[in-house]
């Protein structure tokens, strides 16, 4: 009997523990978005999520930005920046769960992918929204940007205006070009590079003759450079790309395995000659070698000011560059970086107006990009100079809006934006610009093909290239490449008819 009071004491102890453990936890809630104190009569808050390096001093900058925004447009920006590494997963959760937000960053094939999001209803169609709330957007941005953003006829995101064309070529370290007397200005083909690479291979044991911006992309970029001269890309990416031949009026879609095979074999030839680093298969991250300037030359996109950019990037050496292919605008080039309005947004009109501001209001755009003048950066002879450790220097205009509105940063070339825009406008544009393949009907095939292509990377490197390539071809056929091709063809035909091209 005497023990019994103790039992109830135990019970109440347990209940108490439970309560102690469970109760206060809900209260740890931060009051982050409690906007009760805002005198917000007309000011609408836009929650904008983008990718980049989070900035510790963001609050101070946003305060300044919001002063201007409220005054000029009656808007308030609630910006959230997530790391590139976590952006995809975070956005996937936010979007899938239907969480409320207004604008997010989206790309064709890198982060928060555009087309899958459109087909799962994550983004709003913007045509009417733009016309009613932000007609100015149509004037500041060229028409082809909107055309390329269309999916089944509707615009679901506003592309950020930046470099749109591809023009493949090589950049070479100037000191080495001079040392070996290489006639770089007259390089027209890949073969023309051989004497230079031979010299590096034989005389500079510490250097690699040629690389790419990332070693893993080297083969795909090389094949793309070869293909771009005679073919237009229609759909897919990397080794599962689909093309039409230039000058082919019947617009026959194919994946041209025989042509691609030839180019991949050629890549293997470069490897066999010792121009490409021998550990290419296992090397995943060669950024340390790039920044140390260990590549004597590099395959890449040739653009105005490219030498200066490469100098900053790769060890501070001077570089020269030469283009092998003409500037060319791919069918979906503008989708590399875009901003979309969420279908969960409560005030899409404000969201589209905010996108408009980022593309047209130079002052606000630059403040968000570089911070506050005198605090985060200084202006020297018209160039932005970062104040180190000041807590804010986003410097990724291409993620926010119109890159060509950005101030020039120290080390950039005067007039670089004008020149780039000029080439953008004069470059050859793909005849099927704006055609966007909807992969929904063949998603099963698509999933299987992407698995196969990553298994058969860097084929040319292996001695038994022939057998491996045939294996690759068989597996692609098993994965349904023909069905995929037929689907591309039928969608393309429908598009051509609709656009009066066939």
């Amino acid at each position: 009997m005497s023990k019994h009071p103790k039992h109830s004491w135990r019970i109440s102890l347990m209940a108490g523990l439970l309560a102690v453990l469970m109760l206060p936890m809900g209260c740890g809630q931060s009051g982050g978005s409690s906007s009760g104190s805002e005198p917000s009569e007309e000011v609408t808050t836009v929650r904008w999520i983008t990718a980049g390096t989070p900035q510790t001093g963001m609050d101070a900058v946003l305060e300044e930005v919001n002063k201007l925004l409220a005054e000029r447009y009656g808007l308030k920006l609630q910006l959230e920046i997530y790391d590139y590494g976590s952006y995809d997963e975070k956005m996937n959760m936010i979007i899938s769960s239907g969480e409320e937000f207004d604008v997010c960053f989206t790309t064709q094939s890198w982060l928060n992918k555009y087309q899958p999001n459109v087909s799962r209803g994550a983004f709003l169609a913007l045509d009417d929204l733009i016309d009613e709330n932000a007609p100015g957007l149509r004037e500041v941005l060229p028409e082809f940007l909107f055309e390329q953003a269309r999916v089944d006829g509707a615009i679901y995101a506003v592309p950020n205006y930046q470099i749109c064309y591809d023009s493949f070529g090589f950049m070479m370290r100037k000191d080495l070009v001079e040392k070996y007397n290489f006639d770089w200005e007259n390089v027209k083909t890949v073969e023309d590079m051989y004497p230079f690479w031979d010299a590096i291979r034989d005389n500079e044991p510490d250097l690699y003759p040629v690389g790419d911006l990332s070693i893993q992309a080297f083969e795909d970029d090389f094949v793309a450079m070869c293909m771009i001269q005679d073919y237009y890309t229609v759909a897919g990416s990397g080794a599962s790309s689909f093309y039409i031949k230039k000058g082919d009026d019947s617009y026959t879609v194919d994946w041209f395995p025989d042509v691609v095979k030839e180019y991949r074999a050629k890549f293997g030839e470069l490897y066999d000659k010792g121009y490409i680093r021998s550990d290419i298969i296992t090397m995943q991250d060669d950024s340390a070698d790039i920044t140390a300037g260990k590549y004597a030359s590099r395959l890449g996109i040739i653009k105005p000011g490219g030498e200066a950019e490469q100098k900053q990037l790769a060890g501070g050496y001077d570089y020269v560059q030469v283009a092998l292919t003409e500037p060319f605008v791919n069918a979906l080039a503008s989708r590399a970086a875009m901003n979309a309005v969420s279908s969960s947004s409560k005030h899409p009109e404000a969201a589209i107006r905010m996108i408009d501001v980022m593309n047209s209001d130079k002052e606000i755009f630059n403040m968000l990009n570089f911070g506050i003048e005198g605090v985060n950066y200084t202006m020297e002879n018209g160039f932005v100079k970062e104040i180190p450790d000041s807590g804010y220097f986003f410097n990724s205009g291409w993620a926010l809006g119109n890159q060509f509105n950005a101030y020039l940063v120290e080390g950039q070339q005067e007039g670089v934006w004008e020149e780039t825009m000029e080439i953008n406008n004069n470059a050859e544009v793909s005849p099927i610009s704006g055609f966007s393949f909807n992969e929904e009907a063949v998603s099963t095939e698509m999933a299987q093909m992407s698995s196969v292509t990553s298994e058969y990377k860097f084929l040319g490197v292996y001695d038994d290239f022939e057998t491996r390539f045939e294996e690759f071809r068989t597996k692609m056929e098993q994965a349904g490449v023909e069905k995929y091709k037929a689907e591309v063809q039928s969608q393309l035909d429908a598009w051509l008819t609709a656009n009066g091209k066939k």
Partner: protein, 298 residues
């Protein structure tokens, strides 16, 4: 051969020590590689590979991590608090249900075991959990989201149950005859007898909580609430993601220089693992000197 066998029989302690020494060396060497890499200059690391001694001594990685020490200390604090709270609460709840499952007089032990076990196999994926946490419970940026969902882990419940099952039933029977109820038996007899297994589970819970980056990734956006491992995870993922961006080519203009060096990755691994290795001997004290049933009975 025979002589060797004899040797083993005569000196089992030596044999155990030799085997353990070799095994320990195998565990230690790679760890030293990581440590050395974290003190190596980034370029030297890519040129010379990993060495047991840094080929070019350099503190940049640690300088970078401790650039704002209050931030890293804050993360340590968050992780320690979350870990401690999860261990304390989890241990209580898990041993309570583990005891119930182990009792032979419990009539619903089988269906309940199944109920517990089922959660190990089936899950609804991240999306429904995310909806539950953010929209139903509104737990984004709270400590609750880092603690409460991980209090009960079926695997550990089953471990505890298995241990309780091995306690001699006679112990419980005699307590019953003395008039003790189940609460009393649990707190007075079962708990004290299971210190070794509880310590193990405590340590395992602590370790999984310590290494948990996913909760931080999904539910914590406020910088001063970021757990430590999430920071390591971000460095790892940034490398991956920036490389993907580069391999896409075209319009995306990320800077190669933004890619964190491998030395930073290694330094972060050292910073993240260090404290747990220091804490471990504290746990060890409790299961190394294990209790025996006889000792308690006597």
């Amino acid at each position: 051969m025979n002589a060797a066998m004899n040797n083993i029989k005569k000196h089992p302690q030596y044999t155990i020590n030799i085997i353990s020494l070799i095994y320990s060396a195998l565990c230690l060497l790679p760890f030293l590689l990581v440590l050395s890499a974290s003190f190596t200059n980034e370029h030297a690391l890519s040129a010379n590979g990993f060495r047991l001694l840094p080929s070019e001594f350099d503190l940049t990685a640690y300088e970078y991590i401790f650039k704002s020490p209050e931030k890293i200390l804050r993360s340590y604090g968050v992780t320690i608090f979350v870990t401690a709270a999860t261990v304390a609460g989890g241990l209580l709840f898990m041993s309570m249900i583990g005891y119930t499952l182990a009792r032979t007089n419990c009539r619903f032990a089988r269906p309940l075991s199944f109920y517990v076990f089922f959660t190990l196999l089936f899950s609804g994926g991240m999306v429904p959990s995310y909806i539950l946490m953010t929209q139903v419970l509104d737990w984004k940026n709270t400590y609750a989201v880092m603690i409460v969902p991980s209090l009960v882990y079926a695997f550990h419940v089953i471990m505890i149950r298995t241990f309780f099952q091995k306690l001699p039933p006679a112990l419980f029977e005699s307590a019953k005859i003395d008039g003790a109820n189940e609460f009393l038996i649990f707190f007075r007899i079962a708990l004290p007898l299971s210190v070794p297994v509880l310590t193990t589970v405590a340590f395992f819970t602590a370790m999984s909580k310590w290494n948990d980056w996913q909760t931080g990734l999904l539910y914590i956006t406020q910088e001063d609430m970021e757990p430590l491992q999430y920071m390591l995870y971000r460095i790892e993922q940034n490398i991956q993601s920036l490389l993907t961006a580069l391999s896409q080519g075209g319009g995306i203009t990320v800077d190669v220089r933004d890619i964190p060096g491998q030395n930073l990755l290694m330094a972060m691994a050292v910073v993240a693992a260090g404290p747990m290795l220091v804490v471990f001997p504290f746990f060890q004290k409790y299961f190394i000197s294990g209790l025996t049933v006889g000792a308690v009975k006597g």
